[in-house]
């Protein structure tokens, strides 16, 4: 499937970027599962959402740029929008968690120890 005219170094770079990005994302998911409290977990996926995503986007851009023989930076869009929107979810989620802890468990996480 891979177009034959992709230079070897580009092919390898794309592969490495992709694996690195995927690895970071995977790590983020591991963190999501491994951390003990919600407030810790919430940090983990940002690995994938920032650097992991950036690496894979870079891989994709690189690949298509070489494959089509011209600059194809459109995955940048994904990068920008994901960066802008992920915080929205996380902020609301953290706020909701804080509130739920306060109301339902009678704990104010912001004042005491986690």
């Amino acid at each position: 499937m891979t177009p034959p005219d992709l230079p070897a170094w580009a092919a390898v770079t794309v592969g490495v970027l992709a694996v690195a990005g995927a690895g970071l994302s995977f790590l983020g998911a591991v963190g999501l599962c491994g951390f003990k409290t919600f407030y810790e977990r919430v940090h983990a996926p940002t690995l994938g959402a920032t650097l992991g995503m950036a690496l894979i986007v870079a891989a994709s851009i690189l690949f298509f740029t070489f494959a089509e023989g011209r600059l194809m930076p459109r995955e940048l869009l994904i990068g920008v929008f994901l960066t802008v929107t992920t915080p929205v979810t996380l902020i609301l989620l953290a706020r909701a968690a804080l509130f739920r802890d306060r109301v339902e468990r009678g704990r104010d996480e912001t004042s005491g120890e986690p």
Partner: protein, 93 residues
Amino acid sequence: MSQAILLWCLTGAQALLAGAMALAAWRVVRGPRAQDRVLGLDTLYLNGMLLLLVFGVRAGSSIYFYAALIIGMLGFAATVALAKFLMRGEVIE
């Protein structure tokens, strides 16, 4: 050779991302609380989108880009709604 490496790398990346999705799904299933599940879903979406990007590279086709773009631009609407529901008990006030 480089093509083979690329293919292997991409497959590996896909496997990692699928694994990440599985882990995220585990969090969604496991909870324990609603916010954990929503966070898990958000992660699921994120990794799903990345998987689509890698799939596009693997397939050598830009046809799949829009699916990824839609997750990137609009996927958050679902998780925002969930988070807002958690926070306010209502999505639209």
